[in-house]
Amino acid sequence: MSAFDTEVYRKQARDWLEEYAPAFSKAATGERTADEDFALGQKWQKTKFKAGYGAITFPKEYGGSEGHVVEKLIFAEEELRFDTPQYFNTSLGMPVPMLIRYGTEEQKRALVTPALRGDQLWCQLFSEPNAGSDLAALRMRARREGDSWILSGQKLWTTWAQYADYGIVLVRHDDSLPKHKGLTMFFVDMRAPGITVRPVRPLHGQTSINEVFFDDVRVPDIQRMGEVGAGFRVALETLMIERYTVSDVSGYGPSVRDFMQLARSVTCGGVSALENPAARQVIVDTLVQDVGLNEIHARALQSIAEGKEPGPEGSIRKLVVSGKRQRLAAAAMDLMGADGVAIDPAAEMNESFQASWIRAPAGRVAGGTDEILKNTIAERVLGLPQDYRPDKGVPYRELEG
């Protein structure tokens, strides 16, 4: 796409959002229960879908727009300006594209469109209590029984499992193989007998994550995604689908501009907080990081629009953003002094430094810890070798603990 086309698209997207998005904001609807919020999220997805913005890169045969990936990124960027209810990012980001790649014709005809339209939601059942950063260490078992598989075990950190209709699940079908080789992927009906969803109380208030228990859950072999034993490769492969995503440069917290406003409005011992050395340092560091990341993002969008791979520098974004957000929020609370402890329980994390701070630890863990991200940059971008891996090639069942 040319720079001109992308700007035309951006303008259209912005105009559409300005007309439709405000009705879905907190300001318009007031306080909502969790279930009301999810219902509104479904409605918003349906509204976008009807207008051609809900499934921008998906095939037309399922109701998608078959647009350029840069259109999806531009729309996501513009949507960040509004506080619309977000539930379908995971669902449409990985499970549904996997269904399109690995599902049967019949499955796809039945399931893809409802998922794109927001009638149904898919979740992703990967992590377990002992398998976080090291996903391939997962334990959940699958044993073959005729045309079916029987799944037993526990998944953890499953986002929106409580609303999910389907889920993709990674399980161990053979523990005599090395850890990465004994895994297989399936999709499951989340209402199947034997599945129990239990919300996990996160550090902050809102419950989006769950434990999911599988107690002899029967899954037909036809719901297998990819070959038996290919599960880990399939998971990685899918992580690569449209892996460039749009995120808020402030990490979904208040911005450096908000911080500047705050610093202007408060004093310590009668002196403006804008004279506070620590505050000045945080402003400068945050601003410089924002400017740098935005430029890297703009360059990536341009590459994608031209059909090229974006540069490796995009890989620093999550690492930089999540640390930055935590520091900015803590520094803001420092400026407020004793009052800094006060938190409005209903505040969104981008409205309140306290809400942002309380969610910041999850930001530094979910989707790759700081430590894993640095390893990834060192290995994939700089070409340094992998760490020592004593588990390599060892049958899973021989790994202790």
């Binding site: 992590s127 209590p129 002992n130 976080g132 950063s133 090291d134 260490a137 953890l156 950190w157 996990v200 109380r201 996160p202 550090l203 408060v266 004093t267 310590c268 011992g269 009668g270 907080a273 506070n276 050395p277 620590a278 505050a279 935590q326 803590a330 609370m333 420092d334 400026l335 407020m336 002094g337 004793a338 009052d339 800094g340 402890v341 006060a342 938190i343 409005d344 329980p345 306290q354 701070w357 309380i358 630890p361 999850a362 530094r364 863990v365 979910a366 810890t369 700081d370 430590e371 640095k374 760490d387 891996r389 004593p390 588990d391 390599k392 060892v394 790994l399 603990g401």
Partner: protein
């Protein structure tokens, strides 16, 4: 003093829902500046724990713990507002910093919180384990400590709080070490990874530096020259040590650390609450510069 330090660090290590450090500073203020009458009235019941007393310093509109522009003392009565006072709801008394009439002088005064002239409003905070309240005084009876020095009491409270912070930071370090020895990833305990080892070594170094500063401050508490600088150093280094320890303890615990299933979040919350309630880090940093600049000869 060694016993006091032990009690304070222990209080910190369990993230106890108390303001013990502040209580101790309050007792010292009474001992130092109270009239015989005032001592009779308060010291024994406070020291025995029979009665509790909150320390009410911060005011709306300014983040300094010394700010006394709102609450005014006149003819035995005070009026005005104090904000975010920890443990006020559990206390019968408050020690309140007040401005003396129209002068620029400030003093400490004791106020009975049960009186109708005091209105307490609980506020929601990041640290749910300690209740915090705003207080509004309207011609409340106030028992003035004539010669009192607000900065001195704030500094003493900061020194004692530093010991609580140290106790909490050491507990975080221990939790992290234990978890790192037990949790496995990529075929080995995570305590074998340099990223974890070096993070915990940094945590240890910060804590020991803070420990040294707290020991010096405690030692100089009654030293005319040393306390202003050393209490500020103790406060500053304790804030930094606990903030790093609490934040990175969650990081070591990974996703588990981000839930109520582990205790990490209690220390994360408490670290911030303690960092804010007696003046934030920059207030103390400025105090250090000020005092270091003045001191011709300090113990460095």
């Amino acid at each position: 003093m060694d016993e006091l330090a032990a009690v304070l660090t222990e209080t910190g290590a369990v993230a106890a829902p108390l303001a013990f450090a502040q209580s101790y500073a309050i007792c010292r203020a009474l001992e130092r500046w109270g009239s015989p009458d005032q001592k009779d009235r308060y010291v024994e019941s406070l020291a025995s724990g029979e009665q509790r007393c909150a320390l009410a310093l911060s005011e709306p509109g300014d983040s300094s713990p010394l700010a006394t522009g709102s609450v005014i003392y006149k003819d035995g009565l005070i009026s005005g507002r104090k904000k975010a006072v920890p443990c006020a709801l559990e206390s019968r008394l408050a020690m309140v910093s007040v401005r003396m009439g129209d002068s620029l002088q400030s003093r400490l005064a004791l106020v009975d919180l049960d009186a109708d002239s005091c209105r307490l409003t609980r506020i929601n905070t990041i640290d749910a384990t300690r209740r915090v309240a705003n207080i509004e005084f309207e011609n409340a009876d106030a028992d003035l400590l004539e010669e009192s020095d607000v900065l001195r009491t704030v500094s003493e409270a900061a020194t004692f709080t530093a010991l609580e912070q140290l106790g909490a930071a050491r507990e975080c370090l221990q939790m992290s070490v234990n978890y790192a020895l037990e949790r496995k990833a990529f075929g080995q305990v995570i305590g074998k990874f340099q990223a974890i080892k070096h993070k915990l070594a940094d945590m240890y170094a910060n804590i020991e530096i803070a420990g040294g500063n707290a020991a010096v401050a405690l030692d100089r508490l009654d030293d005319r020259a040393g306390w202003p600088l050393h209490s500020a150093c103790a406060r500053y280094s304790a804030i930094q040590a606990l903030e790093f320890a609490a934040t990175e303890t969650i990081q070591v615990h990974g996703a588990m650390g981000c839930t109520w299933e582990s205790n990490c979040h209690l220390f994360y919350r408490r670290s911030r609450a303690l960092a804010l309630e007696l003046g934030a880090v920059d207030f103390w940093s400025q105090r250090i510069i000020h005092e270091f600049g003045k001191s011709a000869e300090v113990a460095v």
